[in-house]
């Protein structure tokens, strides 16, 4: 009999990092080693994480495929499933189905400058590709990361932000919204689009990867255009509600395009061709 496509892998929580009061990162390890060996994924893909008894929720894999043996997910406590997840402890079981969806075309980006722009809880879906390209550092030229959050306490991956800031081969700009700073905050204060405009990274031979709340995207796009980025060189991910993850349940489509099959990674050029249904 062939596989039950709705059956999740059983994963054990190996480590929990409390990123902010309501955001957590789980490191998950396959319970079954045979499944672990067969499993592979690429940057940008997502999965259905489940708490048995609560249901499933869709997040991107937050760890890079260059780190074997585990996957990580970062989620904000918001609905029934994420609350269920937040109640779990190290050693507990989480279900995982995936990977689904397309990937960031990182091979095409080789030899280019990369500009990552993320806002708030949108860093996790980008963390996978960021680490992926950092782990293959010699293949890419400059890597710039612009990350903003509402306040200092809302910044996720604080330990990694520190590492990135210390690395000479990465340019990291962190910012918090006005009023969100603490007395010892050393980063920028201001909204992502303004900070980006001030930093003015060059668009020459560069790719921009953008992820964040709609309002941030709305105001960041004109800045990227001003800097000279072409639509086809800007990438983002769409996050629509989904249940199955493989084009059957009928929720995530934007016009003819299934976010779960044709996405979640889209170039801005592709997004512009979509009907406004996302």
């Amino acid at each position: 009999m062939s596989e039950n496509i709705y059956k999740p892998y059983l994963m054990e929580i190996e480590q929990i990092v409390e990123e902010t009061p309501d955001v957590r990162t789980f490191r998950l390890k396959f319970k079954n080693t045979a499944e672990a060996e067969k499993f592979s994924f690429k940057a940008g893909q997502f999965g259905e994480y489940s708490v048995l008894g609560e249901g499933e929720s869709t997040f991107c894999v937050a760890s890079p495929p260059t780190r074997n043996g585990y996957i990580e997910c970062t989620f904000r406590k918001a609905g029934r499933v994420t609350k269920g997840l937040a109640n779990l402890e190290v050693g507990d079981t989480v279900g995982f189905r995936g990977p689904y969806g397309n990937t960031f075309p990182i091979e095409e980006w080789e030899g280019k400058n990369l500009l990552y722009i993320a806002g708030g809880i949108a860093l996790p879906p980008m963390r996978c590709v960021i680490w992926n390209t950092i782990d293959l550092r010699e293949k890419y030229k400059d890597i710039t990361i612009v990350y903003g959050a509402r306040s200092v306490s809302d910044l996720v991956y604080k330990h990694e932000l520190k590492d990135w800031a210390e690395r000479p081969d990465i340019k990291l700009i962190t910012t918090v919204d006005p009023g969100g700073q603490t007395p010892d905050w050393k980063g920028e204060v201001g909204f992502v689009p303004m900070v980006l405009e001030k930093a003015a990274p060059s668009s020459e031979n560069a790719i921009a990867i953008l992820c964040g709340p709609p309002v941030m995207i709305k105001f960041t796009m004109p800045v990227l255009k001003k800097l000279g980025f072409l639509d086809k060189d800007i990438y983002t991910t769409l996050e629509n509600r989904m249940k199955c993850g493989f084009g059957k349940c009928g929720r995530c489509n934007v016009g003819k395009v299934f976010v779960c099959k044709d996405g979640p990674v889209f170039s801005y050029e592709q997004i512009l061709a979509l009907p406004e249904e996302y």
Partner: protein, 267 residues
């Protein structure tokens, strides 16, 4: 009907309202809701015995509201729904014009809410005659027979929520069944879960149901779910001597009380 069309035209032409919510005939001959914004199209309006749907459901619908000020063709149940919606502060009396129609199809002159209230008060406010008969039949059955009857009926329910969507008083933007913390009602359709849903619906309409029967009419599989709310409408009248939708000031039976409410089962 001609009076209705003339009045509709006049309201649209003089820009007193932007839309008339009334009935038109569909291609298969059934009457259905129509939204007339162009006075030239007012001739499409009909009013006859086919026009049974409670149009008041559209008063709270965002896309219909966006059309602007409306006039609504209103039978007695529609008027009572309007009263309920005003009393529950979902709509403002000033924003709608009521094109009242009596049971024989003639246009009533409902100048304002006072007139409407007077008209409602002198009408028969009990359940519709044919439903009364059904209720009497059901109440004659034994408890076990009634339990079996409702199990059989509710096993047909497919949880399409047409009963809820068709009801002018089920206007919540997020229904209890759509809350999943806790999940009161199972998402799937099975007899037990369906029964819980219909109990919940009837309880949430207790003292608010204006006996239009729209829920039962909307049901695609023919469950007489309107009898549940109608039975409660009867009981509300028995116990508390009120009919829903008779005054703009009335508050819902279950959100008020009288210290001397009578019952006989609490020990």
């Amino acid at each position: 009907m001609n009076n209705l069309i003339a009045r509709a035209k006049e309201l649209l032409e003089n820009k007193i309202v932007q839309v008339i919510v009334g009935y038109e005939a569909g291609p298969t001959g059934v009457a259905r809701p129509a939204f007339i914004t162009n006075p030239a199209k007012a001739d499409l309006l009909i009013y006859d015995e086919r026009c049974v749907q409670n149009l008041a459901v559209y008063l709270t619908k965002p896309e219909v509201r966006n059309l602007g000020k409306m006039a609504i063709v209103a039978t007695l149940p529609v008027m009572r729904s309007i009263m309920m919606l005003i009393s529950e502060q979902q709509i403002f009396a000033d924003n709608i014009i009521v094109l009242g129609v009596s049971s024989d199809g003639s246009l009533l002159d409902i100048a304002d809410i006072k007139v409407m209230q007077a008209y409602i008060e002198k009408s028969d406010l009990g359940n519709p005659v044919k439903d009364r008969a059904l209720l009497v039949e059901l109440n004659k059955l034994s408890k076990e027979e009634r339990f079996a009857y409702w199990q059989k009926e509710l096993s047909k329910c497919i949880k399409c929520y047409a009963c809820r969507q068709a009801c002018p008083l089920c206007y919540c933007t997020r229904c209890t069944v759509e809350v999943n913390q806790p999940q009161w009602i199972p998402v799937q359709s099975n007899t037990h879960g369906n029964m819980e849903w219909h109990i919940l619906r009837a309880m949430h309409l207790a003292g608010r149901c204006i006996s239009c029967g729209e829920c039962g009419r909307a049901c695609p599989v023919g469950i007489p779910c309107h009898l549940l709310t109608m039975q409660l409408a009867d009981e509300v009248h028995n116990y508390f001597k009120v009919y829903a939708g008779t005054s703009e000031k009335m508050s819902s039976v279950l959100s008020t009380f009288e210290p001397n409410d009578k019952e006989s089962f609490i020990i």
